[in-house]
């Protein structure tokens, strides 16, 4: 079984040591600036001169490039192709394919959108790689995020693979009793129906037990919750957060002013 379900890469780096909220705001500001900024090349510059260097600062460059190949490049290429072919504006036709035109304008637009998507996914990949999920949650809870909300998010992340494993067990059990799971698509879709009952109702029963289990450990206690992890929040963190907020506001203002 998997030891840990998250993108988190355990390292010691400046980026790892930053407060989780600072990293969250960093990721969010990179995304917002790439959207708001009126200059064409902003997303590209952010990717090359913010995200790539940050991978090295966070000492996760290898893991980052691996996930770039698996997730980011396929997603960005898909967006690029769609936009290049289906963007209706544009006069300068480069080539035609059937009824679809690829124009200079649509290519430029597609390149920008694809880079934006790349920036978005990479910023959050970087956040998840350098931030332990329980640290992020305990920091957000300390700042007033309701404990129940944090619990729902983090337990969903952990329970999904468990549900997957259980679905597999049920499928195997039904297969051994002659359920057809390998013929035509329609038949296979039909054979999913008997899976739903045991999986869903089984999970509902489990929910009650789990509710009892966490209740038995004071989940609804009215005390102010404490946290096992000490999540440091330095003055450098605070300065960085404000700086980022100011940068986002400036890019938003420029966007409104120039358009």
């Amino acid at each position: 079984m998997h030891e840990r379900l998250s993108y988190y890469v355990k390292r010691d780096s400046t980026l790892h040591r930053l407060n989780p909220l600072t990293k969250f705001i960093l990721a969010l500001s990179i995304i917002l600036i790439s959207i708001f900024s009126p200059w064409y090349w902003t997303p590209h510059i952010l990717f090359l001169f913010a995200i790539i260097p940050l991978c090295f600062v966070g000492r996760v460059s290898w893991e980052f490039f691996m996930s770039a190949f698996r997730l980011i490049i396929p997603a960005a290429s898909f967006i690029f192709i769609m936009q290049a072919f289906f963007q209706p504006d544009g006069q300068t036709i480069i080539f035609e394919f059937w009824f679809l035109d690829v124009t200079e304008e649509s290519l430029a637009f597609a390149f920008r959108i694809a880079t934006r998507i790349t920036v978005m996914i990479s910023a959050f990949t970087l956040l998840l790689m350098t931030t332990h999920p329980s640290e992020l949650m305990s920091d957000l809870t300390r700042r007033g995020l309701p404990g129940q909300f944090a619990y729902v998010i983090i337990s969903t992340l952990q329970i999904l693979p468990q549900m997957q494993a259980k679905a597999q067990t049920i499928i195997n059990a039904q297969r051994s009793r002659g359920l057809d799971t390998q013929s035509s698509f329609i038949k296979r879709a039909g054979s999913l129906i008997p899976l739903v009952g045991p999986l869903v109702f089984g999970s509902l029963v489990e929910v009650e037990e789990r509710a009892i289990a966490i209740e038995a450990r004071g989940f609804t206690s009215t005390h102010v919750k404490t946290s096992l992890h000490d999540v440091p929040d330095t003055s450098a963190d605070k300065v960085l957060r404000w700086l980022l907020v100011v940068l986002v506001i400036i890019s938003l203002a420029l966007n409104l002013w120039l358009s």
Partner: protein, 279 residues
């Protein structure tokens, strides 16, 4: 002085007609180990939930009579205060894992975070609890990567770390293999020896005979028998009412009919049976 005191407790789940518990009177002294046995539907789990405060606070329904633990009354308390008096662990170890934590150490600290224990104290208490149940070596593992017996010990530890006055266990080994069962019972025995008051529902009669100070036999929501393990576990009444009994008792009873067992008391464990047949 009884630390657990149930007086005339009758309880009905919402949307059902018949009461699950009827007129239960049960006193458990401090440090005592009480085992509860009974066929399916006898109300064993409901009894556990009642002592642990989940009946009626969590399940609602109608309850009459009084439930007292360490001098305070369940109906006058709220559930999140009550769980500090009574710790509850149950069958499925997997469902007792919070799902919000990535290591065993964090998992055990979960309850202490909820009740607002300061960080330094929290670490000490988790470390002590891990040592008590002998799972310090699992501290950095993911709770989901453990075996059933290990998970159940994690569940027990995460309850113990809350320092309850009483421990209620609802068939803690029913989903364990023999190795897991031995691991879990080992921990429970150690706790009992250290003076913890334990109420445990259990089917494994031979283990009960070895552990318990007192056995309560529950049938159709009422107490059928109550007394020392030897007397209760070998009573004729149990076989008639569909209780699971020890195979050694069955063998000796058959032998008694054939005139091969010459003692008045029937055995519960292998050792008792061997000793009885030798003499």
């Amino acid at each position: 002085m009884a630390i657990i005191n149930l007086q005339n407790v009758t309880y009905k789940y919402p949307l059902t007609d018949a009461p699950v518990l009827q007129n239960i009177n049960l006193q458990v002294n401090e440090g005592e180990f009480v085992a509860v046995i009974g066929p399916n539907g006898a109300g064993k789990s409901t009894l556990c939930y009642t002592i642990a405060g989940f009946v009626p606070h969590f399940f609602k329904g109608e309850i009459t009579g009084t439930v007292e633990v360490a001098g305070s009354e369940s109906s006058k308390s709220s559930l999140h205060e009550w769980v500090l008096n009574v710790g509850l662990a149950f069958q499925n170890p997997f469902n007792q894992i919070s799902g919000a934590k990535y290591t065993v150490f964090e998992e055990i600290a979960f309850g202490l975070e909820n009740i607002g224990v300061p960080r330094e104290e929290m670490r000490l208490r988790v470390e002590d609890a891990l040592k008590l149940t002998g799972i310090s070596d699992l501290a950095d593992r993911s709770p989901y990567s453990l075996s059933g017996g290990q998970q159940q010990r994690v569940a027990l530890t995460s309850i113990l770390v809350m320092q309850p006055k009483v421990l209620v266990l609802d068939e803690p080994t029913s989903q364990m293999d023999p190795i897991g069962t031995r691991e879990v019972f080992g921990v429970i025995r150690k706790l009992s020896e250290k003076g913890m008051t334990v109420v445990m529902v259990e089917h494994k009669v031979e283990w009960i005979a070895e552990f318990a100070d007192k056995v309560v036999a529950l049938h159709n929501g009422s107490v059928l028998l109550e007394g020392n393990p030897q007397e209760v576990l070998t009573s004729d009444l149990l076989t008639d009412k569909g209780f699971g009994i020890s195979r050694y008792t069955s063998v000796a009873r058959k032998a008694q009919e054939l005139g091969m067992w010459k003692h008045n008391n029937l055995p519960v464990t292998l050792d008792e049976a061997v000793a009885g047949f030798k003499r």
